[in-house]
């Protein structure tokens, strides 16, 4: 096993934290935020980077990525060069009418923004964390549980996007956030985002994650993205959140999302992962902190090559009468590895909980694997909970039926993969986004991959 000292990145982040703690690097940040950073960094030092001996990382071995050297991305602004523009264009969703925001290595390019929504406060996190009135969103004294990458992000984050939707505001159009990651040397980028939907507000966000010129125009530089997003959905508010992950080779993408739902709020998450990035680890944690909330989680992961795609979800039913439904589907091509871990935790007080979970996988590559693990922990007695997990191959009957109509074997397989994904894609409400996802699927499925 590697000790922390064997991991070049470990030394880099320790030095990085020391630099950051030095006198004015943290600027006008509140003392509580500084304390939060300090304790998060101590937790990271205790936990280190996760290994397969940690239960949450049992099937996700990142040792090979930790052998590489990375530099911490600083606060310097990355120029919006030609390759960044090209990446942004690739991430655009045809026919989508949205407010488009460009973030390069986590830094919002304000100068680039066109029309902005009314009733929505948009700031860079660099600005927000210096504002005493907003610093409360970055201090998390109550949550001392985070470890590994999440703790590292809390300790070292510098920028990201702060969104706050006023009470009762219903922006006309969704916000399309295009995240472009780029570097001319190996970089660790740690964006932090905080989004707040106040009472009866509505927020629709589509995030597209891409890399510029796979990863750089220069060639072999790698990017490790360790991002953390906190979303607070206040009473009677609605948040619709779509994530499209299409970064290129050389990307290690670790995305942590924590959602806190208040009374009668609604949160929908649609997560799509496509071939490209060598490592994708999504941690999606939904904390149902008050009664009568509704949550829908839909996921589709399409993995190819040597790719490792891990989706860890947690639905934490803390209060009574909340509803959650989760459907994740995976297609594993070539030698890819998939991991699904779906945890549903129903607290003793959370009576009348309805919690459903389903994970289905199509394992196509002869050397592809999937580890699927539903985890239900239920401490209340008056609940309805169910879960299911399947792993399968193509139906021979269906393949023959299609071929008997003149359709080639490859096309038939493509149709069947699309059909498999359909249960998730049909849930997308915006037709432009749905078409975009279907197009991405078909881009990867003329089955040269099998």
């Amino acid at each position: 096993m590697m000790t922390p000292q064997d991991i070049p990145l470990y030394e880099e982040v320790v030095n990085g934290f020391n630099r950051l703690s030095a006198a004015d690097a943290l600027g006008r940040e509140s003392s509580d935020l500084r304390k939060t950073r300090q304790s998060a960094f101590e937790r990271f030092r205790e936990s280190g980077f996760p290994t397969i001996r940690n239960e949450d990382w049992k099937y996700t071995n990142i040792a090979r990525f930790l052998k590489e050297e990375y530099m911490l991305a600083g606060e310097e602004t990355v120029p919006v060069a030609e390759n960044v523009r090209a990446a942004m264009e690739r991430a655009r969703i045809t026919e989508l009418d949205a407010y488009t925001l460009l973030l390069v290595n986590g830094v919002w390019q304000k100068g680039d923004a066109g029309e902005l929504p009314k009733g929505v406060e948009l700031l860079t996190v660099a600005e927000a964390r210096q504002d005493p009135a907003l610093s409360v969103y970055f201090e998390r004294p109550a949550d001392g549980r985070e470890r590994y990458f999440a703790a590292l992000n809390t300790a070292l984050f510098s920028d990201g996007l702060f969104i706050r939707v006023d009470a009762g505001a219903l922006p006309e159009k969704p916000i399309h956030i295009i995240h472009v990651f780029t570097g001319d040397r190996n970089l660790l980028v740690q964006p932090r985002h905080v989004w707040v939907a106040n009472r009866q507000a509505e927020l629709k966000v589509i995030e597209s994650i891409v890399t510029a010129g796979g990863v750089t125009a220069g060639g072999n530089a790698k990017i490790w993205v360790n991002s953390l997003t906190e979303i607070i959905v206040h009473q009677d508010a609605k948040v619709d959140h779509t994530v499209v992950q299409t970064p290129g080779e050389g990307t290690r993408l670790v995305q942590h999302t924590t959602v806190r739902q208040k009374r009668q709020s609604l949160y929908n998450n649609y997560n799509f992962t496509f071939p490209g990035s060598d490592l994708v680890r999504n941690d999606l944690q939904i904390r149902l902190e008050e009664n009568h909330t509704e949550t829908h989680l839909y996921g589709l992961y399409l993995a190819a090559g040597q790719q490792l795609v891990d989706n860890h979800t947690l639905v934490d039913h803390q209060k009574p009468a909340c509803f959650s439904n989760e459907l994740y589907k995976g297609v594993l091509l070539e030698q890819s590895t998939g991991v699904f871990n779906g945890k549903v935790y129903v607290h003793r007080d959370a009576q009348k909980t309805n919690a459903f979970q389903q994970n289905n996988n199509l394992v196509i590559g002869k050397k592809a694997t999937i580890d699927s693990k539903p985890e239900l922990e239920i401490f209340a007695d008056d609940v309805k909970c169910s879960h299911g997990s399947t792993v399968g191959q193509f139906s021979e009957e269906a393949l023959f039926y299609l071929r008997a109509r003149g359709i080639s074997e490859d096309t038939a397989k493509g149709l069947l993969i699309n059909a498999f994904a359909f249960d998730v894609t049909e849930k997308i409400k915006d037709p432009a986004v749905e078409a975009h996802i279907n197009q991405l699927i078909s881009q990867h499925i003329p089955l040269t991959h099998v």
Partner: protein, 255 residues
């Protein structure tokens, strides 16, 4: 058009077809009847190219080409169509996209340009009308949630769209009520021409009242034991299959 010579086939080591001989010419309708387990559906599957059947002896020549060497999709593109006894439900594949894909691949194989959206729509409308297929079903997922009758009618709709040379109807009448049977038969009759041929596999004579065959063959124990005209079907309806079974045993070669 189709010449089957001494066709032997097995599935999982079990001999199912034991020497089938059959010749089908353009414009003809052949009915293949026989008791359960005689090999009727197996013959259909072997002709369509189902992979779990292994041909151990004999040959099948379709329009001068060796059919058995072709993959299922090439057989379809050459003009063989199997209307399935149990059409598969494929949720998520829309009926119309499926047909568009199939037709495009068949046309490409024949060196024809694919139909544009407008032409395809026109063709689809025309064929829906011809076989009285509900327009609502056209846009649904392939066979998903269709009733038994709707699935069979969808097979005939596909047949109409793809315009095969040789159509094999595998117990298309099973599970159909009398109205559905009439509609399906009417569709088939409209599609009959001097250039194409039909092989109709059925258990009952009922279907043959609507689609009148030129020839009737009785399959028993993997062989065609009797061939005749449509009167043979009536005789079978009357007397059942037992007399033929006895006859077949008497005529079987002694070892």
């Amino acid at each position: 058009m189709l010449i089957i010579k001494n066709l032997h086939a097995e599935v999982e080591g079990k001999q199912i077809l034991k020497g089938i001989n059959l010749t089908v010419r353009p414009g003809e309708v052949h009915a293949i009847m026989g008791p359960n387990g005689s090999g009727k559906s197996s013959l259909a599957s072997v002709l369509a190219g189902k992979e779990n059947y292994e041909v151990t002896e004999g040959e099948v020549i379709f329009q001068g080409k060796n059919l058995l060497e072709m993959s299922p999709e090439v057989r379809a593109r050459e003009g063989v169509f199997l209307a399935f006894q149990y059409p598969i439900e494929i949720p998520g594949v829309s009926n119309i996209n499926f047909l568009k894909t199939a037709l495009a691949e068949i046309r490409t194989y024949k060196g024809l340009a694919p139909l544009d959206a407008k032409e395809f729509l026109r063709l689809s409308k025309e064929k829906q009308k011809l076989v009285e297929f509900d327009a609502k079903l056209v846009n649904r997922s392939l066979n998903e949630g269709f009733s038994g009758g709707e699935k069979k009618r969808n097979e005939i709709f596909q047949l109409a769209m793809l315009e095969p040379v040789l159509s094999i109807l595998d117990e298309t009448d099973s599970g159909l009520d009398i109205d559905a049977l009439r509609i399906v038969s009417k569709g088939v009759n409209k599609l009959r021409s001097a250039d194409n041929a039909f092989v109709i596999i059925t258990h009952y004579q009922r279907l043959l009242e609507y689609i009148v065959p030129d020839f009737v063959h009785v399959l028993y124990n993997g062989r065609i034991v009797k061939s005749g005209t449509k009167e043979l079907a009536l005789e079978l309806e009357d007397k059942g299959y037992d007399w033929l079974k006895e006859e077949a045993h008497e005529n079987a070669p002694t070892i």
